[in-house]
Assembly symmetry: D3
Homo-oligomer: 238 residues x 6
């Protein structure tokens, strides 16, 4: 189920907070990736389908520095296989004591046209990654090579990331606040609903800034609110 | 016991670190709110009396998205009741996995003239909150709606926030470092003492920058230090 | 074993990530100080020999505010004894609930020509410290005076800092990512190796930016890579 | 809404695990008190209505050892007010570094006919409490007096305990595994359902012990299972 | 690579501590499963090849209570497929807030002749599991059904368990202290070495109990120690 | 300052909880070692002067298995130097991922007449240590050899243990609840006071068991309480 361009465009304009509320209404409470943040807090939003990479704890005899001479090594293979437009999501078991990846691999991902990268561990070369144009999210910077604690094992299987379930093809949305996981088959309707919610929230924010109370306004329990919103939409072309 | 304007003005000029030392001298060691930070690290300091809100863990059947249609809902009521000049302080049980509040409510609080907001959990719409003029402090950004994990229960009762005790009317002071809680009846004397301490620390910093050793200077065990300080105060009109 | 100026100069140009890989090749996996970050993320790198300070939990009767009137107090003595060019490293038992030090002491350290300061706890007056020119690293800001939880005990003994072993004279290297500890007797060879690795990584980054795959390039399993690197070094004077 | 004796009797025979499943079917996922255990793992089960006590962090000037001379002190008052048959539940903010209560108060509670006591902190005099007949649950033993970190504040208000919401009158059920919170109005139906589930699980366990596969048996997707269960119930008088 | 009966027999007589030392000598430092304990501390040791089960965080729409009606559900399938003599090892992401499994499934595993079960989360019905004859290890009891937080996904793939890497076929050894993971191809030599080490440690313990100093004895740097050990082995038929 | 035999005898009869209260009255709030427990919960109490051992994080090149061939290795030397009657206290930085010591060393300590051993990490061979007669306290069992993460460095210096300060010669008291640290110069008066407090608490417990309310009794704000206590002391020869 490919991500529609119209859905991608809608998701670029809405916040992870709004999407979390839409998910909450559907009974999904664990889709926000806990405790990750953008390396570049001033960068653009991120939207793309999840392409996953699973790490397990590293066993020392299996992880000498020479393992990367194998071109099939899952970490390197994943970087070359992640489709353009997709977001690489790494299950690092929330362990940031060693890196999930570094700037060379993330640059390659960016050059290949991928939409972003997320780990629940940490990136090395984090200052360089922060300066790339592609969105990247992690827990905290971590200089030690990933072999220190992580062995890349599986490509594109369902994983956990920051206590959220991530299935290949789920739609990852990131903003300056963090990253949310949209189940693939719900992405279109969530995007549409979030655009509507965002219009209403922008209207509410305008009203609140003018001094209006939130009571009756947010949520719109006062009938006048709906009328005012209709006027606002027309006036603001939303 | 209302916060005096003279005390508010003094507290705007001193640091949380200086106030913590003044509290330490009085035997109070747990008044700094642990693990919270300003959403806008370049924003102004914060001073105001505590107006509290207490959350408990959310029970799913009591927290459908429709609860906010009740205008008496404690979270919404608190936002409308927090007095101008006061700081809203939320006991989120140090749980940032779901939001304590979002930008619309925080904007309303600002428009109503409140002095700031603090949670030991996280805010959603954190990038927008960071751009408001009003100081806000939290643990980390958190997009999920508060209903996911928090049920607002009590308004203006004594609470814990980041392992610090907060009583309604206590004076909350925030700077770029964090937030400290001043017991209401001590606020005036702490403010006076902190202004004095700040003058001395500024003098010491000047001396240290000129190359003077801290021995005898900080603390002022060398009698010359007190003389020099007197001269400095006069010269600097402090 | 004094730190050679040539080694210091080399270490100023390489990243903690590269050094961690060089250490990994030698079987050292715990030399990165976990969970500390620069107070000024835009500041310069840090290189210097470790001069350590060890804290134990504070016992209340031994730590009234008056202890600093003793000029031999280990915290104050350490600040005056740390050699120019050295980095003060504080074992705060990873406890950031009270400060490890504040801006006056850190300013004195800077004026005395020290190269930086690191704690696995937190600094107070952190906004002021962030504006000093000298690199400083900690876990998070912490306003309470160090006496609240820490008693300075030993000067220049082997310590743990952020789960890394630190021996006096080890070479501390910090960049925007964090801090790594180089065993004293390995510093020269690590510096040389890291400079070489950095040249290769810069070459690889250039190639990746041009669109080249990492397979065969990083690591250089394709013989062409070595040839290309030789050409690049000449062209770039590296 | 008083707890019916028939419900109490049913709940004494079922496990917290079975009740959690019945709650899960109703969408309640946070009713198990996390990380508490019985002080006496060989003691009886516990059933009773919640009578709550809320602690906040202790402020040193408000908590000298003399506070207990006030007979209205909430901790002491609560012990004398908790109704016979009820379970005292203490919100200690999951902080076991100081005690929630000690053996004298717990003994008094037992003598008054209360059904048990639960804290998400720790008890002092824990070996003595373990030997009392009344069930008690905590995180871990903790010798320091509660005044060290806790100030008793509120009696019988809604609280959090081990990340579970607890409302006064909810039905607390404890077994050797832990403690679950049943919303008051659901207690009767949960008790009935759990008795039925327990009969089925006992039947299944018997079958499994005889060598039968769980497929088709648990859950009972094989129609034969239901027939066999009917026979078993008759044979075992369940 | 099947586990030899002779190796199994040897491993039943040695401790996890001794095996950890033998692994340490080979550079393996992360093979002890962190923070798990036997449900029955008086039960027998455990030896068997790892048969793994991988959980990811549960997504609510995919985990209604009805999922178990599918006989292919990985949790149920794994229980029926785990070979006799093998140890089921569950990757629960160290999350004990919901159960990894309950007594019915563990009983089935025992009846099928499996050698034990390990999770880095928690079991429900833990008092019943503790009374089964088969060794079981977990972090702490947890009554909520696994669907609350866990979705069983993969059978017999490499996993992490308590920060240790576990590959299918690795040899799991458990004693009253905990569980260690032996890489499959090292199991025979580790077993032999551990039997030898155990003989020496038993000799040393005998000597120490008689009053002999550990210096020269442990390790055997005094040549007399080796002679004495030879005599002891003969006398004790070891 | 040697521990008097009369003080030792008194301390053997009182609880860590009572001693914590006596310390609290003197302003000492951090003397209870957090999160340690007896390996043998049915063993005797422990009293003795602290003899300390300090660990730092292990650096791999300094900690091959051969280091123990050095008879001066601080871990081994400490075991042979700890005075009879003393308690060995190990600062393991609260890290139980590798052992602090094993049964052979602890047996040697016992044979040498030491009074007990405490670590804020974990012991290996913990089932064997639990069966020795000498009290031992730790966080949790840990099979990996101490070299995996710990390097023994200093003997008999002030340390932290479980967030408590421990100075050589302080008096360590352990019961089934945990371990408390008495500053050396306060030990005599604390012992006397605790014996008095214990008598009163035993009287109170007797009264409570008979049905008396705690109000007026505990603390003894009702004058009758003091009279009753005097009668009780005489009757019970206390």
């Amino acid at each position: 189920m490919a991500l529609k361009e119209s859905t991608r465009a809608r998701l670029m304009q809405v916040s992870t907070a709004t999407l979390c509320t839409a998910l909450y209404k559907r009974g999904l409470r664990h889709q926000f990736i806990q405790d990750v943040r953008p390396l570049n807090p001033n960068g653009p939003n991120m939207v793309g389908e999840a392409f996953t990479l699973r790490y397990i704890p590293a066993r020392e005899d299996l992880n000498p520095i020479t393992v990367f001479q194998d071109r099939q090594h899952p970490q390197r293979a994943a970087i070359e296989q992640c489709p353009p437009g997709a977001v690489m999501v790494i299950d690092s078991r929330k362990d940031a004591r060693a890196a999930s990846a570094g700037s060379i691999l993330v640059t390659r991902l960016m050059v290949r046209g991928c939409a972003g990268i997320v780990t629940d561990g940490g990136f090395r070369d984090s200052p360089e990654i922060a300066e790339l144009g592609m969105p990247a999210y992690h827990q905290r910077p971590s200089a030690p090579t990933n072999l220190t604690l992580h062995q890349a094992l599986d490509i594109n299987v369902p994983i956990g990331c920051g206590d959220a379930p991530v299935f290949p093809g789920d739609v990852m949305v990131g903003d300056r606040e963090g990253v949310v996981v949209l189940p693939a088959q719900m992405a279109d309707e969530l995007a549409e609903e979030a655009v509507e919610m965002t219009a209403f929230e922008d209207f509410v924010t305008d009203e609140v800034r003018k001094g209006r109370s939130i009571l009756g306004l947010y949520p719109a329990t006062d009938p006048r609110t709906k009328d005012d919103f209709a006027v606002w939409r027309k006036a603001n072309d939303r």
